[in-house]
Subunit: 332 residues, 2 copies
């Protein structure tokens, strides 16, 4: 089997047509308070926590599922995910009347497990420290005959996630007071679906911007991969509160795209991620989960100098309960 080619900007544009009126067109928010605090010219936030199912994952899932044939739809779909891809696939399957089985780690947040079940999906749990997700998934695939919807290393998913970036570019063009240039773009990164999809758009729109993927320190494989030019892996026994970003490595398609455009990776501690969660609650009035807040955390911890500069920051998801917010409030 030959390796498929990475998706292109045209694939992202086609995905946007499929998602129009179904996915939320999330707003581009100008963060005045952050601009003042950092002395920045413009800071724009893309709050994908406001997307259906509470994260950007719905975009890629829907773009993948609508392209299935009738025969494939009849077989149902299978996905493995700690929760945000799970909800995205489950919600998209529900809308399209497709059966969905989702493989989730036992230590996934209970909120995410409940929400996934709430969309009518069958949830199969496994112990991610003792069982291989791939083996669990392949056994289920063989048993059910379902179509696997990979979480990031898959063209339709990458193209779907990139639609958020198309909206950012359109919204910036419509502003009467947009900055002349965008200096930096920072977004949370696990396997690289959102990053690669966004890169397809931003490498054309802002070829000179510094594009950073941001990870938890214990899962900084994408940053190491981009620095070294070959695929590096994270130690899956490491723990982090950023459950949305705990992937072993970038996908191959994702890396192929990112190495053209990304300047590199940034990494934040769990404490910094929690501080960003608390900042989002109290200052931005947005609910952002730790994994969704890592780019904001990198900004707040001063990892990119933005004085008199302009940046775009993604808040990629908001699926957390109040207990997590309490932990965040204690991290300040």
């Amino acid at each position: 089997m030959t390796q498929p080619a990475p998706p292109t900007l045209a694939d992202v544009q086609a995905a946007a047509d499929r998602l129009a009126g179904v996915a939320v067109r999330t707003p581009l928010l100008r963060a005045h308070a952050l601009e003042t605090a950092l002395g920045a010219k413009r800071i724009y936030l893309k709050p994908e926590c406001l997307q259906r199912t509470g994260s950007f994952k719905f975009r890629g899932a829907l773009n993948a599922l609508v392209q299935l044939t009738d025969e494939e739809r009849a077989r149902g779909v299978l996905a493995f995910s700690s929760g945000n891809h799970a909800q995205g696939v489950a919600a998209a399957a529900h809308m399209l009347g497709i059966g969905a089985t989702i493989v989730m780690p036992e230590d996934a947040p209970s909120l995410k497990i409940e929400r996934t079940k709430g969309w009518g999906a069958e949830v199969v749990q496994y112990d991610r420290y003792s069982q291989s997700r791939d083996i669990v998934a392949s056994e289920l695939l063989n048993k059910t005959g379902a179509v696997l919807i990979p979480p990031y290393d898959y063209g339709p998913v990458i193209a779907g996630q990139g639609t958020a970036a198309l909206e950012v570019v359109q919204d910036l063009k419509a502003l009467s007071d947009a900055p002349k240039k965008i200096d930096a773009i920072m977004l949370p990164c696990g396997g690289g679906g959102l990053s690669a999809g966004s890169a397809l758009v931003f490498e054309q729109a802002f070829p000179k911007a510094d594009f950073y993927v941001v990870e938890p320190k214990a899962y900084d494989d994408a940053g190491r991969t981009l620095a070294q030019g070959s695929l590096q892996e994270a130690d899956l026994s490491n723990k982090s509160l950023c459950d949305a970003l705990l992937t072993k490595s970038l996908g191959r398609l994702n890396l192929a795209i990112l190495q053209r455009y990304a300047k590199g990776g940034l990494a934040v501690s769990d404490k910094q991620a929690l501080q960003a969660v608390a900042y989002a609650f109290s200052e931005l009035k947005l609910v952002v989960e730790p994994g969704g807040a890592v780019a904001l955390a990198a900004l707040l911890s001063g990892q990119v100098e933005l004085r008199k500069k302009s940046a775009i920051i993604y808040l990629s998801g908001g699926n957390m309960d109040i207990d997590m917010l309490l932990r965040a409030s204690m991290a300040l």
Copy 2:
């Protein structure tokens, strides 16, 4: 002294020019999950919690302060408020280099008191159960010579608050899939600044929509006033968690505008307001304080039938701490 005339739509449009690029142009969010839950055609949210200082109050405050003469600016401004008008005036004064004194009740949320001080304002506290706010304020006015910025019964403030509605109308016009008509508009109401300013816009744009002001049950004077056609008062000894809405009565200018257009008032219990706060956190990923959530509460408690209909709901503020969110989570 003759009673000033109520502001007009032209005043709102002039305010929008003054606020452009300074106030946040808050987005219009489509609430797919609410549409599904209620069988509605379209539900749009106007999240003024995303405004500078966490509520719409910044709009009216800035519109009022920029119109002061140099002589008035030199005297400084004075405002009385439980917290959102306080922060709005304090922030606008800070931006314009004007001194501000804010009179706040001792039982105002500590978060709001701290934020007001954070903008450099001098905060004077009083006991709202034993002291008259008017007497405290007039003593301070005499002592300081400051210019009073009334919280709602004041043309520049009403016109400023109305700018949010102009944005709603513009954003709806730009949508390719906007509904043919808006059936209902619901927004939180204390003294009626936001309601009256919005009515100036919506009575022109959507003359046939049902426009409801929403209040806490213990402070349902606006609803009674609109039903009876004469100014009714609330019992200020009543307690409510909706601190942003605890006013004695509608302002006279506010009533003059509202009685032309408003269909009436709706009222929700504190428990219903808290349930809406919890819903906003878990489902909308937005931080909305109890007083800011009463229109959503009226929607969630089924007070307006929206099956196959379209509505606009304001979320007017988001200044609360995690303790309030915990109370909300226990109200479900």
